[in-house]
Subunit: 873 residues, 2 copies
């Protein structure tokens, strides 16, 4: 028989997966001999079983709960439902990792109409007893029956108003009896039955409600945002109640062993006299700083401080503790590693090492890689944010906060920037032509497109805040205003965006710039010492490279050459190439692009010094460089000296039904080898020149994208090699280089053994690989992925977090097959997943040599790689 | 050391892969003691080596050729380049399988200015000697130097005209000397050097030219059309010349042991007195029927007939023989199994069995499955075709021939059909709205779209001729005419299409209807006896099912329910469903579709009797059911009682960048479970009703398309199951059914072990699987696939012939994983590949239970499956 219920003295802190964080820590504290109200934990396995059994508690689980109740009665010397000495309990959720506020809690369980009277007598405090009962009715109704708290609060307010009271504390025992009756009436009206009187039934209903809350919508969303698996389930803790609301020698509080905002050492917290925990959280009364406890009850304070120190030493981390004082007796209700800001996390980690409490590696594990993002981008001022109203929400596409005036196209955005304005660019979706406008903007808001849309990818690369895919934003046809949930914002008016949450504010919210402390450098150096995975960056300009190297990048893993073509002085030239009618015309047009490409490459090589750089040959379909609306075509035709019909015919001939699966990547080079020739020339000539001029030893890695068949790669490789060899020979110097491919087509992974015969390196393009493995267009999947999350089909966005079951299988297959053919093949990843910690962990385990991500994610990747190195030993 | 050159007496007929068909048969005939001019074969391996060595003959190969020449000189007692008794040879290609006319031949090699004089003396026939020399100069120049034959013919014509001759036979020896000089001058003008005089150099150049011809464009195209691998290479046969042009006791001819058009038993062929083989082929003089040889040279005829009989008995098949009579001495120059029409192939196969010459299984292997297509579709009248001019070419998208008047849209096509006209529908591309127009047409011509475009797939299903993707057809903006290569055709004018070749004729070419003979039934019954793979059909209507069952289908493998929604009386209802604003509205709209779906299913079940039927739930994205042009939207909005803006908003919200990777398949059912519910109800209610009403025991197989994740399948399956169980329960009868999925997303194949936990059957949707495995959009790939063929990257269209290396790997993986989870899982294929013989062979070997293809391909699949069963024993 499986064990589904554990008394607190049966577990320990290692049993988090089974008992949940809270349950495991209550057991641990019990073992440490600390003053813990006793109780038991119904395990996460019981939760999973509950769902497997069709949302039922099985007889086996029920029997074990019965036994645990009996044991708890024995420990307390009080009985459940006893009118003279009743046992009351709290019922709380507790998952493997903390999900604050996501799941439900019931306090004071065990009260009913009779018990409350016995409880009043036993405590000699009728006011307290009825106060507890009314709280229980309200919480039970909310948590178990879904009857909103607000309705109870309205009833309570009505009674207070009738009596002319301002504070709950003015309510007498009799007033509270009246409140209880009113609450029970509300319950009956809502449920059609009396408030349940059987404490055992109350308990089972509450346990089921907590299990049920594991799959409520906010918990599902929270899990997706925090990479928590829906399969884990939650545990339920049933704990003897203690009371902070028994008068002025009682109280309750929350405290941290260090400051969770700044990381400063020293106790930090607050407490309330004569209150239950929910009062502190709810903010109905303003709590006192914890220091006041020293004045109020010095012995209790001393005991509290001793235990707090002991807990921090024991857990080797800053603790977040809840405690209650019942008639001068101190109880700890829970402890856990405290949540903290990124700044605090770094300081605490570094301090703990300095204090000799943890090793460097232990310290590394105390900081979540994703948290580092906070340090690198502007954030909203906390006070300003408290007053701001969230008006809408999109996808958190690129982190940071931004506020500025709204403009609807790249030109007006650029002009506004020149006038010195802060700018927010609002677009239906962005395209490469918007680059300059995006660069001018503090933040970008798009109506369409997901986490890997053009806007999102480019914004992350720039480190610019971006909220994408906010379908509720309706841009007016004249592009002079937009409406969001009923409010209209005109061009030039202020809005603010939070790219870390997706929140949209229709006002100018103050932001503060990030500060990188000395702790950051110390900490990251530890990470670099331990990690084995290299970290490169995706960069398309010298500016990107400089930024990324500041952040610790060890090379460029992906230079997308097409981004170099969209600038104002270049796009006419690539367009000329596209409308060419012969190879000669095309070559002539390409010739004009060489100086630009070369200059870009030289700038990047110089910024990189001797670090490697992977350059991808032209990837997007050619129609991306041409306009699609008749009006724009007419204008461009005039500029290019073509007739409308001629240009229109070119645009039409390039039209594709599914551009993602169309004429792009190396397929372009197969049709137009001269494009690959031009690019190969620019890459190698630039390398030769920086070597000659500055003595910099670049090793260019020429990457042929989108190969799916080895002969395709071999063909383009030969085209490239012919140019490369010629340029090097003419230069009279030696130059190392590599030629490889992206693995982004399923067939490339399936045939990686053959592909490796031609490729000296593989870079996994997991964006496209995910698209094709799932058959999801990343630009369109937004329309149905929400339903997938809601219905529990997917737990996370496969474009943000690598799907290890499917896509990962292809990656592992390609690694194995590639290494079999070419044992020294260099393996990396350059998809968006290269900056995602869980995906980086996969890359580490799959045996890749490096990950490559946008500059602002480099520190995250360095830390995530360090975590993987430590945890996978 | 490898052996690259074989004398004819060193090989035999089993060595086709090494010696090529021609070389192997010449060896075999030598072994049989038949009168064969001796020679040697340079192997296919030498050809492969030639390419591997950078288009060079290696020293090793050269040395073996030298040895062979010496041996041949010994056998003949004549020497190469000898002025008194010269050895002359022919040089011919000969690949593993016959590629008639695709590669090159040189005759009379060994002649030069001196040798020709000796040859004239030795043969005592100067006219003959110079005639041979001028032929050699012309052929060598053409084959080795690419100097077009036509230029030589012009020179010859000039001389004939000058002399007032009409026939070549009037030219005297001296005239021919003049021709030789003129030919040599032409050569020099073109090449800048004298005509080569060294016989050895002539030979080596010719061998290289034949190797080179393996990769000429027409050979590459032929191979792609006929599933011949480019890796095989061709052999070269160097054979002693014999002369049919030595006077009236000489001659040359071609004969078949049975009639290759009808299959009728008895010798069939023709010959020319005093001529070389090329004269017969070129048709310059009209040959005599072979029977005339009996009168001309009775002993020779008798010998010929004896050998012909012997060869047919020996090869157990109808033989196609070339022979030459040199001064009453008969020589066989080659024999091979003769090409034949489908009708002849069937008759010969059946006759050979009746005659006791072959077994049924041997007979089955004598008919190419693809050939059967000819029997099932109209073909052009052979005589009419001879006079018709090919004006353009598209893709051979659906076989058969058609002629009719051109119409440019479905409505005018339908009206013209009503008027009794034969109709050819010409469209930029077709969409589901064109169905009725396609049904009304004899043939369909599209400008865009490949072999698996909508037009192609639907046309094949209907058995209607279709030529797709003819980019040279320019349809006028008013859709009243089109131009093709300079000629304009107006609405109502005649054109003709050959869907088996892609040829387009701008005139009314007479067609003849197919006749299915008794031989067909006999033959197909043999195929059914031996095959283990079942053959089902893809069918969307009772009409399709009836046709397919006539052709031997054993069930429906794919019923695409969306095709049922496009008819005029239904599409308004599905559109109403799409614009619904609530689940209730949507359900109400769906309710109206049930009667239609049910009626269709009942009709199909009744046609099927007790055979199984796989019904796929709605697959295409919803925007396919709505118009996209503003004008059409406005019209539809009026019909639907909506404002333009309302309908336009719906159309816009459904727009997708890559519809193929968008909101379709089971993703629709996840968002709108009510659609799956409606369809499940219709499928099961129909089955219940035909069981009750007619006692037909259908086993509906409900197929959930496009699953990539098991939870997705599980979700939709539960939605379906709830309805299915309810309907069956209410019916009070028992009904078997299955629920399964299509494997068409790479991730589904990768996770087939998990998917099989929910799926009772897999049907491989290899169209989509190919799209996603390659990252090719089948609608767009046409724009670059031609370059892929030209550059040798791909040998065949992966949408027509299953890519066994990549896509096949996923299929095999899914078969293995699926069976591991569920050993009795039913496995089939319903992609276009289900009708392609080489893909069917793969399916047989991969262990599938059945293939499913369009009705007109069912016989092909039955025969292909029989071939696989025999050949894979």
């Amino acid at each position: 028989m499986s064990k589904f219920v554990y008394m607190f003295n049966e577990g320990d802190k290692s049993m988090k997966n089974l008992l949940g964080g809270k349950g495991a820590n209550l057991s641990e504290m019990t073992n440490l001999g600390l003053p813990i109200p006793q109780g038991f934990t119904v395990t996460t396995e019981a939760c999973i079983k509950y769902y497997d059994d069709g949302e039922m508690l099985s007889d086996e689980v029920l029997a074990q709960i019965d036994d645990a109740i009996a044991e708890l009665e024995k420990i307390n010397g009080k009985n459940f439902g006893d009118n003279s000495s009743p046992l009351l309990v709290s019922v709380r959720s507790g998952a493997r990792v903390s999900m604050p506020g996501m799941m439900d809690t019931v306090l004071n369980l065990g009260l009913n109409d009779e018990v409350v009277e016995g409880f009043a007598k036993a405590t000699e405090n009728p006011r307290f007893a009825y106060d507890s009962y009314r709280r229980f009715i309200q919480m039970f109704s909310d948590v178990v029956k879904g009857l909103p708290k607000s309705q109870f609060e309205r009833v309570l307010d009505d009674i207070k108003e009738k009596k002319g009271f301002e504070s709950d504390l003015e309510l007498s025992a009799d007033d509270l009896k009246e409140v209880v009756e009113a609450f029970k009436a509300l319950y009956k009206k809502h449920e059609g039955s009396e408030f349940p009187q059987d404490p055992k039934a109350q308990l089972l209903d509450s346990i089921k409600a907590v299990f049920g809350s594991w799959n409520n919508e906010r918990a599902v969303i929270y899990r997706r945002m925090n990479d928590i698996s829906g399969k884990w389930g939650t545990a339920v803790n049933v704990q003897t109640m203690v009371y902070g609301n028994m008068g002025d020698t009682s109280g309750t509080g929350v405290a941290f062993t260090r400051n969770p905002s700044t990381g400063e050492a020293g106790i930090y917290g607050e407490y309330l006299l004569n209150a239950q925990g929910e009062d502190v959280v709810a903010g109905i009364r303003t709590p006192e700083p914890i220091k006041r406890l020293e004045d109020d009850m010095p012995e209790v304070y001393k005991e509290f401080m001793d235990i707090a120190d002991r807990l921090e030493d024991h857990y080797k981390d800053m603790q977040d503790m809840e405690f209650t004082i019942e008639n001068k007796k101190l109880y700890f209700l829970q402890t856990r590693n405290g949540k903290r800001t990124a700044q605090a996390a770094l300081r605490i980690a570094v301090d703990l090492v300095k204090e000799g409490k943890v090793t460097e590696e232990e310290a590394l594990l105390k900081v979540e890689p994703k948290q580092l993002d906070q340090l690198l981008h502007p954030m909203f001022d906390v006070k300003a944010l408290a007053d701001a109203e969230v008006h809408g929400k999109g996808l958190p596409a690129s982190p940071g906060a931004a506020a500025g005036r709204v403009y609807f196209n790249a030109d007006t955005a650029v002009e506004a920037k020149k006038r010195g304005e802060r700018v927010i660019l609002v677009r239906l979706e962005t395209s490469p032509e918007d680059i300059e406008g995006m660069d001018a903007a503090q933040g970008i808001l798009t109506v369409r497109g997901g986490m890997t849309s053009h806007a999102a990818v480019v914004a992350r690369g720039m480190g610019t805040c971006c909220v994408s895919g906010c379908a509720n934003v309706k841009i007016a046809a004249d592009e002079k205003s937009f409406t969001l949930n009923g409010k209209t914002i005109n061009e030039g008016e202020y809005i603010s965006l939070d790219g870390s949450t997706g929140n949209i504010y229709l006002e100018d919210v103050k932001t503060v710039d990030p500060e990188i402390s000395g702790d950051f450098q110390t900490f990251m150096a530890w990470a670099d010492k331990v990690r084995t995975l290299k970290v490169r960056t995706n960069a398309d300009s010298p500016k990107d490279v400089i930024k990324a190297i500041e952040f610790g990048a060890e090379g460029v893993g992906l230079c997308r050459t097409e981004h170099m073509f969209f600038e104002e002085d270049r796009i006419p030239k690539i367009r000329k190439m596209i409308v060419s009618n012969s190879v000669e015309e095309r070559k002539a047009a390409l010739e004009q692009l060489i100086p630009f490409q070369k200059a870009d490459f030289k700038g990047m090589y110089e910024a990189l010094q001797d670090r490697p750089m992977t350059v991808r040959l032209l990837d997007p379909p050619l129609h991306e460089f041409l306009p699609h609306e008749d009006e724009d075509i007419a204008e461009l035709a005039k500029d290019m000296g073509l007739t409308f019909d001629e240009l229109k015919a070119t645009v039409d001939s390039l039209h594709e039904f599914n551009p993602m699966l169309g004429h792009r990547g190396c397929r372009l080079a197969v049709t137009y080898p001269e494009i690959a020739e031009m690019q190969a020339r620019a890459i190698i000539e630039a390398a030769v020149e920086v070597k000659k001029e500055k003595g910099i030893n670049v090793i260019p890695e020429i990457m042929i994208p989108l190969a799916g068949e080895v002969k395709e790669l071999a063909y383009v490789k030969e085209v490239v090699l012919n140019v490369v060899k010629k340029v090097i020979e003419e230069s009279g110097i030696e130059l190392e280089y590599k030629i490889g491919t992206m693995i982004e087509i399923p067939r490339a992974a399936l045939t990686a053994d053959l592909i490796a015969e031609e490729a000296e390196f593989f870079s996994f393009g997991t964006n496209d690989l995910t698209q094709m493995t799932f058959g999801f267009s990343r630009d369109d999947a937004g329309s149905f992925l929400d339903d997938y999350y809601k219905k529990g089909i997917l737990e996370s966005d496969p474009f943000a977090r690598l799907d290890q079951v499917g896509v990962g299988q292809l990656v592992e297959m390609a690694v194995e097959k590639g290494r079999k053919t070419r044992p020294d093949i260099k393996l990396g990843i350059c998809g968006e997943h290269g900056g995602d910690p869980s995906s980086i962990d996969f890359c580490h385990r799959a045996g890749l040599d490096y990950v490559s991500c946008s500059p602002f994610r480099v520190p995250i990747a360095r830390l995530a790689a360090a975590h993987s190195a430590i945890l996978n030993r």
